[in-house]
Symmetry: C4
């Protein structure tokens, strides 16, 4: 029994179990390589926001809040306008909101969405946000042969580069569903990180092709797509849930490195009701000391350069 | 880089990124033809309410909150009474509520519902609301041949005209699902606008048969049918969500033209709990300066006559 | 144009449309036979509570919150204990709650549930509540031939009579699904009312076999089964929604007869969380003047004897 | 008619029905063998918390919040990281939370999850919590032949014993689905209690193989898996619902023995938002006098040794 456990058991015997047992101690026993340090730049808690840029790149008759009972051979015209909202209202509104709040975000961009609305893609970058890759098309890649998947990824990153001038170093697969070869391809193509992992509340480093590769975990529970999606959660439920998430992570960040990830999609997170709730949420978070908002490329770089980062 | 972007980047560099960057500036860069002006009549924000009049026109054994497991060959008798509620309680209660609140709304009417309850259809018009068309029957039209679809639309508008005396100039397709010919037929038949589009938070003008045609966007997210439908949202979730929508649009309306669309259906929005929540919601909205409630025919006319309206 | 409409239009022209237009006026135009009077006994608003007594009578492997993936040939043992909760905890807890609150309710009883727990069925009656019929078995009747359906109903009412001594005069079909013959059979068997109708917020009288028969409408929206059912609504959503329903009906009851119907099922409405919310809800309702809580047999009798009741 | 009923009816006649009729009286009439005493150790209310330790033991491509549309022959890589979260973040975070709050819980452990993360399994026990059995694999057992089921259970309990040193005496079947032989096997193997029963809000004793066996009822309604599961409930709905549950049971505990059961799963209840809500919930509960938090082995032992425990 190590000394920490002895301390815990003695505390318990002495009726001291109500004393705070910090998380970094708890973790130390199960993961000997887990560092107790915080962020290299002195941040107490890092918040990472995603703004997915996908609309305009959706396939014909993509799933939407409309009933999925369209007869074969017809186009789902109202569903198309639901997607158009993403670039006509959603992204511009969110861009204004980030500026009001003074935060920079990461925008994973579907290649075809970039080609459809090049000015908007460029504006995202010009306003200081990170462009990251999200595949050439809005489709699965886990089931593609190696070379086809490589082209699928490379075409997407090239589209972003050509239109916005930004060299994407981060990746997100459709519905997070990477295949067995994806990480190897990403490493080959010069990517520095991916986000298709939900396993931790902080970034970590893995070995891909014998080299370091960063994982900046994504989120489903602080994500408009699962929460809102037409009718699951109202926006104030979203607000309350992510606020609770922040409160706990902020508490834990006294003792160890913590990251809060929040995700929005153009046609969902860009509605007035969601932007209003997001504004209130970010203002609440910003009222706490030591919180910094960072793009995922900054987070990945910081994690890769820090010996205290978890390495799996 | 245009001057707006320079301003944004400099502000950012100077730590001024917390300053408000108004939406109309943001939009200007991506849509050069987007006007920065507000409403022609001086309104700061326009609110458009729909009250769908459909019950009584539903097909035999239409979907309802009851389990969809009825054996073939039987009538769903309790589901029928769920629809009857729409004209026996729902519409009368909403009509009283609109009068209490002093607002006029747009009622898209299914032709067979009008024929089933002619007095109620007439009363809607006599109390100052707009009658708009919603097809002769409660059924799809996107899959009809041109002439059949034209008859389907014309029969509905004739039913409204014959019963209420109102000449409908606005259209809404079943579940918003227009077909490839719908707009052309509407233009032919003398309609001025349709609502089967979710792409913007303001009206806009398109060309149909080389002539102007107005689009007054509908809503799914401020719509009782998706939110309530038996069990998705409670009425206070609906209230909170639409309140957040208003708050954001009211903020944006300082800088550009904005419209809030809210939709109700006879058998859902007409329940006591929904009418109570709607009353509180409208009272909250009315406590803000510069907000006007308009029928969609007024909105369409104003948009068509205004050179600053977005033209796609 | 009748004088009410003239008044409405003149008020509108004079900017008086914000004045209250009471519901009874609004209804008068569409239903000439709608009375403006309130309840015969002077109540301003009547509240009717259902407490369904069904558990113990459920079929083998009845639907429950457990995943519906049980292999054929096995019994769903945990689901059975979910139902047992209905009579071991749910009904006893609700009975205590009704006594704390001083209200009497209507309990629709499945025949086999009564036979399974005769003492509990008797206790419901002995504590002053109404026993009403709900079929001999927990199964559909709309698809039964006339004589079989008659036996199905009669066996259920006999079970109640034999066990509790109560002569049931009210009926509720499984999932409200009566068939084409049900009302005729009920009239033949001496029933005075049924509840399988959602069309109004007050009782009304219909002709069955040329004789008066009362309809005391049920509710889905103030009903634990649709709202809670494992995971749709939390109990405070239920509380808020029914509170909003009451507020509106209480407002309307100034002008016309109104009834609030609320429904609970043994295994759902009888949980501690639901009983706590119900207690708060009823206390809130009881804090308003002129509200009376009545059993459905009392409501039906009052409606049948009152010339001002709506007759369809 | 017994004297209690006479009292109830007389109270009613005298207008005293608003007086409190305590639950233990109400129950006495229907279950003559129901004791009115409270807990043997003087607790007014006992709270039992479950922390299911299952992640790492899940089958390939187990169900998750991701769309269930993966093509055959591929691994669901992001879903796997959703499960990893359970042992990398969820259990460590909950362990810290229990220590902050000073409560001990019961952890039902899947055998393969224990083998996958032996240090974490040991730490649960070393920090004072109960290890209970949950089958060798994450799979159904109700459909296994007697000897196979016996091996399935025994292998799981052996894995726990070998890794943690704890001798599990409590059992929980996958999705609570025990088979016809399960209880007999558990008795044979030396178990003292099982939890796969939802029928009561207090423990009770049954006869298995002619010997006493305790049932410590589980919960679905105070359980993160049904309430949260990606998108059903927000965490504040969970908080409010379990708070209402506590309030009612605390009220009832004046008169009779009551137990509140709350359940968490590593990958769901271990998220920051759920741990934050749980912290607030437990603090609220702890602010009430007479409440004690107990492991299920303690509860089972107390129930078995107490003549006043319900015996079915």
């Amino acid at each position: 029994m190590d000394s920490r456990r002895k301390f815990i058991q003695q505390s318990s015997a002495l009726g001291l179990s109500h004393l705070l047992l910090p998380s970094f101690l708890a973790k130390a026993s199960t993961k000997e390589n887990t560092p107790s340090s915080k962020w290299a730049d002195g941040s107490r808690l890092v918040v990472s926001i995603s703004m997915q840029f996908e609309s305009g790149g959706e396939p014909e008759n993509a799933e939407s809040p409309f009933p999925q009972n369209l007869e074969k051979g017809y186009r789902d015209l109202p569903a198309k306008t639901w997607y158009e909202y993403g670039y006509k209202e959603g992204i511009p509104r969110m861009l204004d909101n980030w500026d009001r709040l003074g935060v920079k975000v990461t925008s994973h961009m579907v290649g075809t969405a970039v080609l459809k609305n090049p000015q908007l893609a460029s504006e995202i970058v010009e306003r200081g946000h990170e462009a990251a890759a999200h595949g050439m098309n809005w489709s699965s890649q886990y089931n593609l042969p190696y070379e086809q998947e490589k082209k699928f990824i490379k075409d997407g990153v090239d589209a972003i580069k050509n239109i916005t001038g930004f060299n994407a170093i981060g990746y997100n697969a459709n519905w997070l569903r990477r295949g067995e070869n994806t990480l190897s391809i990403l490493q080959e193509l010069g990517f520095k990180y991916h986000i298709d992992d939900l396993s931790r509340d902080e970034p970590f480093v893995i070995k891909v092709n014998q080299k370091d590769f960063a994982v900046v975990p994504y989120t489903l529970r602080n994500n408009d797509i699962l929460l809102i999606e037409g009718k699951n959660f109202s926006t104030n439920q979203f607000f309350n849930q992510v606020k609770a998430e922040f409160d706990q992570l902020y508490f834990e960040s006294q003792f160890k490195r913590r990251m809060l990830s929040i995700s929005f999609h153009d046609r969902i997170g860009g509605t007035p009701q969601m932007v209003q709730s997001t504004y209130d949420l970010i203002k609440y978070i910003q009222s706490h000391k030591g919180v910094s908002f960072k793009r995922k490329d900054e987070i990945a770089t910081m994690a890769l350069n820090d010996a205290n980062t978890i390495r799996e």
